[in-house]
């Protein structure tokens, strides 16, 4: 299942901006959970329906870069197509490449509220690592 069942992520307290610590039972789930957590910061995801879908592919030199590029790609989709996304079906993934089918719907001011504008996912204190049996990511956003 693509949706994060709480509590798969926590807010990180940070003076200037907002950070997240996200968990996944495996590498693949970490990336879909991170994407969901980011959109959970942006809007009330329970009010978004998976009406539209698209396939996204991103690359990176390592899991860190892959994470930043993945989230940046989703922010770009959000802004250029006004698509609020809530489901992230990772079709293929390795350390350098990710292919996913993502689903959501167009922003409708009558039903959706924007909580936060995220300018970017940053490299600051970025961590993607395996801790015990779980995968963990720490991501800080510029807001």
């Amino acid at each position: 299942m693509r949706r994060v069942k709480t509590p798969q992520y926590q807010l990180l307290d940070h003076t200037a901006d907002i950070g997240l610590v996200v968990y996944g039972t495996n590498f693949k789930e970490l990336y879909s959970n991170s994407a969901f957590a980011m959109f959970d910061l942006i809007t009330d995801t329970s009010r978004v329906k998976p009406k539209n879908s698209m396939v996204i592919e991103v690359e990176g030199n390592n899991p860190d870069e892959l994470m930043v590029n993945w989230l940046s790609e989703l922010l770009y989709v959000l802004e250029s197509r006004s698509l609020l996304l809530i489901e992230f079906d990772i079709l293929e993934i390795d350390r350098n490449r990710l292919k996913a089918e993502v689903r959501g719907e167009h922003y409708d001011p009558a039903r959706h509220e924007y909580f936060t504008e995220i300018k970017a996912a940053t490299y600051h204190q970025l961590k993607v690592e395996k801790v015990d049996e779980r995968w963990k990511a720490q991501i800080i956003f510029d807001t």
Partner: protein, 483 residues
């Protein structure tokens, strides 16, 4: 990144120094008062000041203004100049919101003429000026060709379309356009993000505010600026929107590779940069200039919309209303400027990230109308707090590469601010203080509660007393709109 805290040596009442150590090429210098110092020491921003001092070609000092707070790589409130030979240019030294800045417009109105009309005026502005995330432009979606034209022309672009007057251009930093802009260096994605957002305020700490001049500190300068006590003025704080974020993001990637290519050793990845003269460095600068120009065009459109709302609300002729741009400054920018270093004139690349240019009287880049007194410096306060008009000085040229502070600076995370505001009617609290605010998102209001910020008066006072940017006037908000 060094983990040992850096020593902070007090140089004077308003200046601290981080002595050079390890691979630092110059010392760090922080402008602050004893009252602000605990805030500064409580986050990692002094470490970031020291990190910037590691960068190749840095000249004199890695500076921080009193509103310094933690940023990505470079601290927010940081100023650093690099020589043209070994120096670097860094997207992290400018920030994601390229040319986030502030503009101030005057009117002939006095506070008693506006008091009863503030609510309808704010409601009119709220429905006219697009704000908030997901809002689209007041002008219909641009074609890529139109947008590229705007990226070159900056504020002149909307003026040619009837948003404002040609005379406005003289009242804008860099006259509203950096000539180094080259739209061919801007990605297709950045262009795409810019098409629909021209003339939009944005969200977060961006705002449009109606203020009353409630204190004049320097009558002579205030008169030259066209300011008087009890006058109604408008303060607009916005930037280059998604186009700027995308350009920063695009070039951070380019710079991560450049760091390896040019074998630069950096204490933090977010300091990624390239030599000023390298292809990567030149391309970033040309793209950054496009975003800067977009931001000036954006603020020009917003101001023209605001002027129209005033005309409709008060049913006054343009002459009676006297709505005029005083000045427009950038807070996030890199610029090639000539400065005196050790008695010699030197071309340097000055990065101002959360800092304002503060050029003195007689400087060739200080507009002619202000050449006797110096460039207006605009320092916005946080929501509900006062803002300040200051003036550039020779002291700024000698001490800080012609730079000063830019605002209040956060002291509290957004998450904490939201927690603190739970159950509080922020809008009514502000109204009780005589400030009528309309915001697209309740969350934005909660994140921007006054307690989340440093006291802007204290920040401005430090730069006043340090002889960098003397105070001219204080602005008290009576209404505003936010994203």
């Amino acid at each position: 990144m060094g983990s040992q805290p850096h020593e902070l040596k007090r140089i004077s009442d308003y200046l601290w120094e981080i002595p050079q150590r390890g691979n630092m090429r110059v010392p760090g210098r922080i402008y602050a008062s004893s009252a602000l110092m605990p805030h500064i020491e409580s986050d990692q921003s002094p470490l970031q000041v020291a990190n910037v001092a590691h960068l190749p070609g840095i000249v004199k000092y890695s500076f921080a203004m009193p509103d310094i707070h933690w940023g990505y790589g470079f601290p927010i409130g940081g100023v650093a100049a690099f020589n043209m030979e070994e120096g670097i240019i860094s997207p992290g030294g400018v920030g994601y919101d390229i040319n986030c800045g502030c503009r101030l417009a005057r009117t002939n109105l006095k506070s008693n003429e506006v008091k009863d009309k503030i609510k309808p005026l704010i409601q009119r502005l709220f429905s006219t000026v697009p704000c908030g995330v997901g809002s689209s432009g007041a002008i219909s979606k641009l074609t890529p060709t139109e947008l590229k034209d705007a990226l070159v022309k900056g504020a002149r672009w909307p003026v040619e379309k009837g948003f404002g007057e040609r005379g406005d251009l003289e009242h804008i930093e860099s006259y509203g356009a950096m000539k180094e802009a080259d739209p061919d260096k801007v990605s297709r994605r950045a262009i795409e993000r810019g098409l629909e957002q021209m003339g939009t305020l944005g969200s977060g700490n961006h705002f449009l505010e109606i203020d009353v001049i409630d204190e004049i500190y320097d009558e002579e300068v205030a008169e030259v600026f066209g300011l008087f006590k009890e006058q109604i003025v408008v303060l607009i704080h916005s930037g280059s929107r998604g186009l700027g974020y995308q350009i920063c993001d695009d070039y951070l990637k380019v710079m991560l590779h450049a760091v390896n290519k040019y074998k630069l050793s950096l204490p933090d990845r977010q300091l990624a940069c390239a030599p000023i003269g390298s292809a990567e460095g030149r391309n970033y600068f040309a793209a950054m200039a496009c975003a800067a120009n977009y931001a000036w065009a954006n603020r020009q459109v917003i101001m023209a919309l605001t002027k129209k709302c005033f005309e409709q609300q008060f049913r006054l002729s343009p002459r009676e209303l006297g709505f005029q741009l005083i000045y427009d400054v950038c807070h996030n920018i890199a610029k090639m400027e000539e400065h005196t270093v050790d008695g010699k004139r030197l071309m340097v690349c000055v990065h101002r990230k959360g800092a304002t240019r503060a050029f003195p009287p007689g400087h060739p880049d200080t507009p002619r109308v202000y050449s006797k007194v110096g460039q207006p410096v605009l320092i916005p306060g946080d929501m509900g707090d006062c803002s300040f008009v200051c003036v550039g000085s020779e002291g700024a040229m000698q001490k800080t590469f012609g730079s000063t502070c830019h605002g209040a600076g956060r002291v509290m995370s957004r998450a904490k601010a939201v927690k603190l505001s739970i159950g509080r009617p922020i809008q009514r609290e502000l109204e009780a203080k005589g400030i009528y605010v309309l915001a697209k998102s309740k969350r934005t209001l909660a994140e921007e509660v006054p307690e989340a910020y440093k006291d802007v008066a204290e920040v401005v006072e430090v730069m006043h007393r340090a002889g960098v940017s003397p105070k001219v006037a204080r602005l008290r908000p009576i209404g505003g709109i936010k994203g």
